[in-house]
Assembly symmetry: C2
Homo-oligomer: 477 residues x 2
Amino acid sequence: MEIFSADQIEAIHLASLAVLRDTGMNFMLPEAVDILTREGARVDDDGIRVHFDPEMVMEKIRTVPGEFTLHARDPANSVRMGRDNIVFSCVASTPNVSDLDRGRLTGNLEDFRNLLRLTQSLNTAQVVGGYPVEPVDTDVRLRHLICVSEMAKLTSKPLSGYSLGRERIEDAIEIVRIARGIDHETLLREPSIHSIVNANSPLVYDKPMLLGAMILAEHNQAVVYTPFTLSGAMAPITIAGALVQQNAEALAGLVFSQCVNPGAPAIYGSFTSNVDMKTGSPAFGTPEYAKATIASGQLARKYGVPLRASNATASNAPDAQAAYESQMSLWACVMGGVNYVKHGLGWLEGGLCTNYEKFIIDAEMVQMMIAFLEPAVVDEDALAVAAIDGVGPASHYFQSPHTMARYETAFYTPMLSDWRNFETWEDAGSVDATRRANGIWKQLLAEYEPPPMDSAIEEELDAFVARRTAEGGAPPL
Amino acid sequence: MEIFSADQIEAIHLASLAVLRDTGMNFMLPEAVDILTREGARVDDDGIRVHFDPEMVMEKIRTVPGEFTLHARDPANSVRMGRDNIVFSCVASTPNVSDLDRGRLTGNLEDFRNLLRLTQSLNTAQVVGGYPVEPVDTDVRLRHLICVSEMAKLTSKPLSGYSLGRERIEDAIEIVRIARGIDHETLLREPSIHSIVNANSPLVYDKPMLLGAMILAEHNQAVVYTPFTLSGAMAPITIAGALVQQNAEALAGLVFSQCVNPGAPAIYGSFTSNVDMKTGSPAFGTPEYAKATIASGQLARKYGVPLRASNATASNAPDAQAAYESQMSLWACVMGGVNYVKHGLGWLEGGLCTNYEKFIIDAEMVQMMIAFLEPAVVDEDALAVAAIDGVGPASHYFQSPHTMARYETAFYTPMLSDWRNFETWEDAGSVDATRRANGIWKQLLAEYEPPPMDSAIEEELDAFVARRTAEGGAPPL
């Protein structure tokens, strides 16, 4: 879907190029500034403010792959990123976790593990988009070793690591390589891990993230450059202005990736939403969010690069608001041609909490979207003119041969939605969707089986983690 | 949005013309059969099965107005139906009503009145789509007199009546004419009431509805021809086949309206959804419903006629399921270019219940859609290049002059959504969206003021109702 005219998109594009040329952007890693200036960017006397000429921007982003495979340790779970593909990930990086039984808790390793088990179990979660909750009860120096190795063992889907300095991302890359059972050369050919690199909006890329982005690009691994452009706070209060800034920051990230390693997989990240101007609170799944996401699709298609956005809501409970704000986000993603829907399952509270029931509600909503995107067949058989004539007026289709031949697979089958009539539903206890979701995630956890892993690979993985743990892990940031 | 190719839509179109020609459709009113055969249709020996040649169908529907005004007694509330317009109505025709405090009750006059008060108060309910709940505690012979006069007094929005035989629709037309304070000639020029005429699918139009449709067309009032094509039950189990049947039945209705009175306003009704094949229960807001609604938009645009669909869900509670199924319905309506979204506010249980909290949840969702559909401005001021340069990196926009000049009106302001942070929300009692909705409808009812009505008009209205009541109203069906 297009929400802006071609002229309007061109105006946003040109304005963002003007921002990159005239205002420029701060790159807080000297090594990154060196790479960019070597490739034609200009830097101010402060050594951090980098300016990009429009020609350089457009030339550099030409080598961003329009589509690539993100490999999983189970090849059946590898996904295509870009063009006409759409994939959904579990929620990532929340500091809290909640469910109906326990209420809200600080993120911890046991919930981290359980949320990975749900991610593995649900075919609507196709990518591990990050830590599904931050395990705050682990040593910050060892957390990445614990977390990425747990992700590699508990799931067999494409993984992610955090671009927080050199050691963490190098360790994550190595764990993913070991888990896939491939050598270093194969890893350099096959993107096997991805990482989000946020701009510290407005117009700053911080040092630890740039370092991670650089190392990932050197290894031909995928980086999602996502400006944090909340309109009215970290970006202009107009949607057009926020998009100009988002586009400038995202393009700067894509340019950086290609300066490091031309052809390295990189994704345009869209996260433009707005704040509540009365309180300053971020809002998600708003009309503004939907417009910005669909417009981002127009921009990403103009550049021929993959696009990431999110399934987001500001609701504090897994309630009707969470559902309708997430639906606004999901429809905007689908209508915008988003390739990678991050936080696809489980996000609540504007990203400050992962909620188990919301995880299941999202799984149902994503499953409905996938069914919606499956083209309906239109052929002589489906048009059913003979069946209509056979049934005729004042009858029904329940016993029609046309129905009997198809009834088992004809329609979408829900996991969470309850379509029984009121009386039957009431007799069964009047259980609403959120409480049904509570039962579903418990059943999924009870039925979870870890994906098989070769014992030699598991030993190598454990040995690597043990060695790096003995070495002290990664320094605190 | 288009979900089928032009070739596929043409195939559905041609198949439905073949159904109308070969299978035909039962018209249970001899007068209707006479009108149709006089205009070129053929009837079988049974006197009810009518066959239409494709040429007749295409010629007759040419006179359906692509757009028309549906007049309200307050001219500011008149709406445009068709083309690029979209309007939403309150829910209609449910036998039950429910809220969080009282649970589920049989429809009654007091709730009927309260739901009309909400319809009047909310600018997201632009049309009174029917009785917002069936007042079962009123005499069935007098119900239409009570209900339509209450609709005319408690609201000042475009009204509707039921096509259930001659007396009911003639009384409804007369009440609407009196309420608008216009003479009969003006009424014949200005569509001032609308009515749903359902096909008794498959392939039947019943006698009382045809009689109502005929009288409305004679008076140049609007009729919405809506086949009840639940895929797998009253229509083929394939979406393409259900659309073929829907299209055949809707076209037959449109043809009938134009045979009665060329140029009479008529609307193509889409209601194709599917049943749960395990239980036979109707399902709404499903992927199939979304596909069928968007495809209906392609068909209606092909014919240049206004389109009606619904904001529907099968959920039994105003919960997350109700919200996400309704969002699927609403997005399909918007993406399908639907002109008249019936049941826009308050529908629950597949149409068997009106729920007060759902009414408010829907009002919020509809309001978000309306804000989404407002085009974002893209001009030099909105692009904000100077503002971005003025703020620069590592800063924020809260105090920027560009922000200060716009912050009061920049963003969508919700009625129901709570964007406060978790701690503030928790301190305020952790009230979820459905319980907040409970407070909102009570406040709206407390603040309701009836729209002013000229005392002479009110007297004329009361006198008419008193006379028709004394005459015994309308016979039971």
